[in-house]
Structure formats: C-alpha cells, structure tokens
C-alpha cells in the first residue's frame, strides 16, 4: 500500500529536480506539465484505493506507528490530493503562457512543483511534526514564487507575507512542543487516543488555541488574514491562482483535521470561538472586497470571505455541516484558482486589472465573458453551479440545528458576493474601455492563448459538472464527514488493531 501513498509525494519532487536541471531549455517547462499529469494519475490511483478501502495508511521506513512517520489518506485527504493535482496541472499548463523566460530561468517550475509537493504532503501526513515540515516546504517555496520578478509591489507584499507566516510557524512549533510534553506522542491517531487521558485538560485547551491561531493565520481567518490581501495581487497570475486555490485551504484542512480528531473534548468552547471567527471572517472579507477596485484585490478579499464558510461547517460540527465544509473546500479551490487565471487573461487583453482602466471585454471577448460568468456565479452561489450546492448544504445544516444567526450571515454574505461579482462584470466586461480601444484576445498570440484558455475552460467545465451532478459529490462529502466525526476507523487504520 505504501507506494500508493508515497507516489503523490515523490512525483512533484522528482519533477522539481528535472525542471530545475532543464530550466535553460524549452523542454524544462513541459517537464512540469508531464509531472503534474503524472501526479493526477497517482492521485486517482490513491482515490480508487481509498474509495474501496475507506482509509489507506502506510508506515514510512517500516517503523510501526506511532514511532515512525505515518502517511494516511481518508476520504478528505484523498479528495484534497486529487483536487491539488487537478489545480496543479491546470496552472502548470497556464504557466506555459504566463510566466516569463527570465522567471523560468530562475527556477519557477522547480519552486512550483515543490509547492505542490508540500501541499500534497500536508494533506496525507499522519504525524504532527511531519505536518510542520510540509508546511515549511510549502512556505519556503511560496516565498520564492511570491517575489520571483522582484518588482516593488512584490517585495512589499512579500515582507508582509513572510513575516506574518513566520509568526504562525513559530506558534505551531511551540504548540507541537507543548502537546508532545503532555502526551509523549506526535502521531495524530495516537494523539486522538492519548489527549483525552491528559490530566490537565485546561492546558490542552490552551494548546488547542495555539493551534487555532497558528492554522488560523495560514487559513487567513479574521482577524489574522492581513497578509493575504497585502500580497496575493502582486506575483504572476499563475502564482496568484495556485496560492488562492491551495495555500489557505491547507490551513483550513489542518484546522478540520485537528479539531475533529485531536481537540474534541472542549467542543463547546473551541467551536464557539470558531463559529464567531467564521461569521466575522465572512463579513470582513466580503466588505473588504466591496471596497476594492482591482480584480485581483477583490478576489483576494473573497478568498477570506469564503474561508469563513468552511470554518462555519467545522464550527457547527454536525455531519451535514462538515460535509458542507468538505464540499465547499473542493468547489472553492476550483472556482477561485479559475477566477485568478481569468483575471490574468483579462489583463493581457485589456491592459490592466484595475477596474477603472479597463472595460469592453464582453463585446470583444465573449468567450472570456462566458468563462468568467461560470466561476463568478458559482462563487456567489447561483443555481445550478457548484457554489449553490456548497452554500445550500451549509445553510441547511445551520438551519437544522437552529443556528439562525450564522445561517443569516451566510446568506447575506452570499448576496454581497454577487455585488462584487457584478461589479467586476459591469466594469471589466460591460462598460466601454475608458481609452476608447477595443480590448481583444487577438493581442495574445495564438499559441499562448490556447495555453491560457484551455485550463480555464477545463476548470469551468469541472464547476459545471459538479453543479449539474452534485449527488455523487455530496454523497462523497457526507462519507468524508462521517469519517471525520468517528475517528475510531482512522485510529484503527493507523495503529492497527492493537489500539
């Protein structure tokens, strides 16, 4: 079983090595595409196995858990790996047309694949310290990607991104130390077993809060999100897209994992805080977006607002709400990465992402307009797109347990999301270009255009499929939620029947 779990981890790093060695040649960029396609295949194999077996686990180096490093994939991990691979492949194709040769020479493709490898590692590790290591792998490669190009805005955004993420790292590390001091183990399954036996449960809650803040910074929740809108609009569009799609979601994943598996004893306390955080994250994010006037800045604030929905699913902690959170994660990664990719094409066609300086895209690039409408309306929650079902499940779950306030907040924020999306639509697509020119996709040469449009169309198609046939996806999310709420199977899969 081991290779099934190890191959999605090994492939990105192999790809990175070859991409780095071949960075002087044009074949180097295709290495990245082939590597990500292989990763998608490996992720699919893992998914098939997980669907058959429920939970797949493997011990690296042959050391039995809880002493060795465990890799484990349950439904949630498996779907996250698949969606990472899909996003990775789409953005790798897009990057062929987006990234400059200079950046490729400086090792863009190598850093990009290391980032993907770090994300996959964070999703399938079953060990807390190993999770820290994957976070760092992800972080250091994202630093490189963020400032590649070295413009003033990138350096400026980079400073904020780097410093605030380092604080989160140190909190995470201290939390690991204290948790180890109390339990003597770092294996997640073993922690789930030993944490309830710790004498001083007050201390466990304190450590839980340290993890909440550490992962909260990564996930960009209120009031810890300030690094995100400061930096996400500065790098290459492909980098923005993969950050927007994947990075914050790793934080959300870590929160879901820790607060369903390990820190479940004081749910009344921790999950109440999470519920407040969720509501405030949704509201501040969407209001921040309303105040912006640049496509990428608007989209950045919307990441924050959408994170709130996922945290809401975790905070409500019912099977249906968690299923909603899982569904939302999957839907959001596809939609959000796609919107950033589209912003990139809009900039190439119209010359800017500042809404005051562009316009007229609907008339001259109707294809792009349609491709924008799909993810934009999905983000806002229009039926029958994927976002509608994601929001529907979450709001229905909130109403089920009479959580009227959070359900109301979720609905109002959805409405305000439509406001922002129609703002982009009206300014960038409908109104005439302020300089009187007609922006057109013909400004991009045919080869580049294909590479830019193809991944956008593929991701939009995926959004449509999830929207039109939501049943298998919701069913999958419900099984994933059931696994999260009954960690016995997870513990048994990792530690064997000896537990």
């Amino acid at each position: 079983m081991s290779w099934l779990l190890a191959s999605p981890l090994v492939l990105p790093f192999l790809t990175a090595v070859f991409a780095f060695l071949l960075r002087h040649r044009s074949v180097g960029r295709w290495v990245s595409v082939v590597g990500n396609a292989a990763l998608l295949a490996a992720a699919m194999f893992l998914m098939v196995e997980v669907l058959a077996a429920g939970i797949v686990s493997g011990q690296m180096g042959g050391w039995a858990a809880p002493f060795g490093i465990t890799l484990v994939a349950d439904y949630l991990s498996a779907v996250m790996v698949v969606i990472t691979a899909i996003t990775g492949l789409a953005v790798a194709v897009y990057a062929l047309g987006d990234v400059t040769e200079r950046a490729e020479y400086l090792g863009f493709h190598a850093l990009y694949n290391i980032l993907i490898g770090g994300v996959v590692g964070a999703f399938i590790t079953g060990d807390l310290f190993n999770l820290y290591v994957w976070f760092e792998v992800m972080l250091i490669s994202s630093f490189g990607l963020l400032i590649l190009g070295g413009s003033k805005a990138q350096i400026d955004g980079g400073v904020k991104y780097v410093t605030l993420n380092l604080i989160s790292t140190i909190l995470f590390l201290s939390g690991i130390g204290l948790l180890y001091g109390m339990t003597g183990t770092l294996n997640l399954a073993d922690l789930a077993r030993t944490v309830p036996t710790v004498e001083n449960q007050g201390l466990v809650t304190v450590v839980a809060m340290m993890f909440m803040v550490a992962f909260g910074v990564k996930a960009a929740v209120f009031p810890l999100f300030f690094w995100l809108p400061a930096s996400y609009h500065t790098p290459f569009f492909s980098v923005s897209a993969v950050f927007a799609g994947l990075l914050t979601k790793v934080g959300v994943y870590a929160l879901i994992r820790m607060f369903t598996l390990v820190f479940t004893l004081d749910v009344a306390f921790t999950h109440t805080i999470l519920l407040w955080v969720a509501a405030l994250t949704m509201i501040t994010g969407v209001l921040g977006a309303a105040a912006q006037n640049d496509i990428r800045k608007i989209l950045s604030f919307h990441i924050v607002s959408q994170i709130g929905y996922m945290i809401m699913g975790l905070a409500l902690m019912t099977p249906f709400a968690l299923a909603g959170a899982v569904f939302y994660l999957v839907h959001h990664i596809i939609v959000k990465a796609n919107l950033f990719l589209i912003a990139g094409v809009a900039e190439r066609a119209a010359g800017s992402t500042d809404l005051g300086r562009i316009g007229g895209l609907y008339k001259s690039a109707p294809l792009l307009a349609v491709l924008f409408l799909i993810p934009a309306f999905s983000l806002a929650g229009f039926p029958p797109l994927s976002g509608f079902w994601a929001k529907y499940v979450l709001v229905a779950a909130a109403l089920d347990i009479q959580a009227w306030v959070i359900a109301g907040v979720a609905l109002v924020v959805g409405l305000l999301t439509i406001f922002s999306m129609t703002k982009i639509w009206a300014e960038a697509f409908w109104k005439a270009h302020p300089d009187g020119i007609a922006p057109t996709l013909d400004r991009i040469d045919a080869g580049t255009r294909r590479r830019l449009i193809l991944p956008i169309a593929a991701l939009a198609g995926l959004t449509m499929i999830i929207g039109l046939y939501p049943e298998p996806f919701v069913g999958f999310a419900e099984t994933a939620a059931a696994q999260l709420l009954n960690p016995q199977a997870y513990i048994a899969a990792v530690l064997g029947d000896a537990s």
Partner: protein, 120 residues
Amino acid sequence: MEALLAITIGILVACAVYLMLARSVLRFIFGLILISNAANLIIFASGRLTNGAPPLIPEGADAPVGLVANALPQALVLTAIVIGFGLFAFALILMFRTYTTLGTLNSDDMRVAEPREGQN
C-alpha cells in the same frame, strides 16, 4: 533545571516581543529569530530534562537501562533549527532587497502593494 530553562524561555520571548513591536522590519526579524529559539527550547524542555544520561543501550540489552535523555525532542529541535535557518536566511536577504528596492525598512512606509486612499 526546568525552572531555569523556563525563565530563559520567558526572557527570550519577552525580548523577542519587544523587538517585534518595533516599526523597523529588520528588528522584527531579529525578534522572530529570538522567539524561534524560544520555541526550540520549549520542545527540548517538553521532552523532560535529565542530567548526564545519554540514551545509550548497554551491550546485550534491548533498551536503555534506567532514566536516560529523551532523544526524540532533540531530533525535532535539530529539524526545526535547520528549517528555521533556511527561513531566516531568506528573510534577511528579503530585508536587504527591501531596503535596496524600497529604500526603507519602516513598516509604516511600506505601502506600495496597498496604497493609501487616493494615492496610486
């Protein structure tokens, strides 16, 4: 020993927080380096401290005899130090580039990516 280490960690964190509250981002990075060392010491201390007892297994035995030092936290700290070294090397170079590109290390003046209202 634990008390001494706890006080050391406390002083490190206090100095670090003081530095991190400064407007200069370079001072902020120095604070981060201090606090990351405090985090490393926390991991080290949480493995429980022993005096002069290396975790060696005597000949013929399968496990160490008596109370010996816990090797795992030391391995963790080693990993954390290496990772931290990489991160801070990057952060310091970033500070240098920031100073040469933006001409300032004062966080109040860093408004290129997020210009003030009416400024562009």
